[in-house]
Symmetry: C2
Subunit: 321 residues, 2 copies
């Protein structure tokens, strides 16, 4: 089996590659080749099978053709222009997030091999005028260009799957926390920082008050779900192959309590509470009252507690002191 | 005020043009120029203002630029590859229905004039795994490429409106009946034929039984709604500018009863009841239990009775004997 990860250089892509390396198989077949493709050459990953790295610009059909061939059995399409950048650069967002997805699907159509395509959509497809709770039947009314482009990707994936061109599966990722690495300019950055930085002896700013609620998933569970997502029997997917990936709703107060429960009272002293109206203006529109029934029924799972999210970070990602 | 109808040669485009001609104004301003654009040069329409006709291929950005200029205040985007053809020719459907919509929106972005864009979506965006009744909050799970492309058009229209590039309004058209003209190869063709052909002394085949229910709107009400749709104050549209256009659900039995009520017992004798499994296989998947609450609240309306649909046909469209 040959697996391709488009976006193989990113946080999720690299973790997924490592997980595939340790499993050695997917969908009941041993992996022969893993291709990691990204806009810049992805980091290599040690594996008991061949790992190739490649640069790929999904906005360019020829570049897409160079990484997907008739032997490609499973494609993870993780690459995207993220929300802040897609909002600032409308052309780039549509070029990569809409036309890039189209290019991948069209390449599969050209080959006629019907690979499995696992597409990462986002919680950002929700918003606007819909009532809570958000269920599998809820209208997608995104309030960012990124969310609109992901919702379009879902429609394309469903249509190309219905036509038998690909065996598509789309999963709307919750906010991933605790993310390793450094803070970034995403409005959600603090949702990892307030745990991660204190655990590494650094101060972090929390721009919202403890009652702020959101919908989270740990990186470890996200990877498990992406692997399960490729393995769901096609006949169980029904007429809508795109669904919310499970997660859980916690308030910031509950997250900080979990930090105390796992690591004692010291780390939270490094959290500086400082309301930031610009961040609040963005994150306040995000939806968190979500019931991911379909994905749960198909065997995908959420974290049991935020204590678990923190333990996973300590086990998987915390840099050695 | 300058109004452009893209798809100005079709049934809805021509009726809309005639209605604008008789009103002389739109959005409280008198119309100076009406441009009718279509893939083939549209028929002229008599009006108290200038009417220009133009050929336009919306898949070609240069062609789109030739019909939209800085003076264009309102654009009706009615042009589309219809369901049967979009299902057979995937390339053409995406080229016209997705990229064509994008080209119109991009031209507006280039001009920076924020015109009103009235987009006709379709009841075909509904389908698949959603519960009845269909409400404003219902997930779009189209089961045709046409439906997917219309749902993508809605997302584009909402996103470009949110960015302030256009003032968009999208309306999902019910099945239009009684359509004038000849039967066509659409699976829904009989939904007009069983009224129209008997009223013109011809036989018509009804391929479903009298209990078959569907969601209808007369051409006259459709045009009224498209005009009101352009006139809704922008601030009333909220965060989702796309909505189901009102219509009503009737069974074929009720439709035939309406025919009897308006025209007596003779015409229905020309209906030949002959179940056609291939037609049934398509139309049985269509949704009809629909609550178009948002559009009703904004002042759009449905027909009061199917008797009205028949009277409108007799008044507006029936060829002289």
């Amino acid at each position: 089996m040959k697996v391709l990860i488009i976006g193989g250089g990113g946080l999720v892509g690299q973790k997924l590659a490592k997980s595939l390396a340790s499993r050695g198989e997917l969908r009941g077949q041993s992996i022969d080749t893993l291709v990691l493709a990204d806009v810049v050459d992805p980091a290599q990953v040690d594996a008991p099978f061949a790992v190739e790295t490649a640069t790929c610009d999904i906005a360019d059909p020829a570049s897409v053709s160079s990484v997907i061939d008739a032997e490609t059995d499973v494609i993870y399409l993780l690459a995207a222009i993220v929300s802040g950048q897609a909002e600032e650069d409308l052309d780039l967002g549509y070029k990569i997030n809409m036309m890039g997805t189209m290019n991948v699907l069209e390449r599969c159509r050209e080959l006629g091999t019907k690979p499995v395509v696992v597409f990462t959509s986002s919680i950002a497809v929700y918003g606007g005028e819909v009532a809570d709770p958000i269920i599998d039947d809820t209208f997608l009314n995104p309030q960012t260009s990124y969310g609109a482009q992901k919702a379009i990707g879902e429609l394309l994936l469903n249509d190309y799957s219905r036509k038998g061109i690909v065996d598509g599966r789309g999963f709307r990722l919750p906010t991933i926390s605790v993310r390793p690495g450094k803070p970034n300019r995403a409005a959600s950055s603090f949702m990892s920082s307030i745990i991660r930085e204190p655990l590494n002896g650094q101060e972090a700013v929390c721009p919202v008050d403890p009652s702020f609620a959101h919908f989270y998933l740990s990186p470890r569970k996200c990877i498990e779900n992406l692997i399960k997502g490729a393995e769901i029997p096609e006949e169980d997917l029904g007429q809508n192959r795109c669904m919310m990936m499970p997660g859980r709703t916690w308030t910031i107060g509950e997250i900080v309590e979990a930090l105390r429960n796992v690591c004692g009272p010291e780390p939270e002293k490094l959290i500086r509470w400082e309301e930031q109206p610009d961040i609040l203006a963005i994150v306040r529109g995000w939806r968190y009252d979500i019931q991911p029934s379909k994905a749960l029924k198909l065997g995908l799972t959420a974290d049991e507690s935020f204590e678990d999210n923190i333990r996973y970070y300590l086990e998987d990602d915390k840099p050695a002191a």
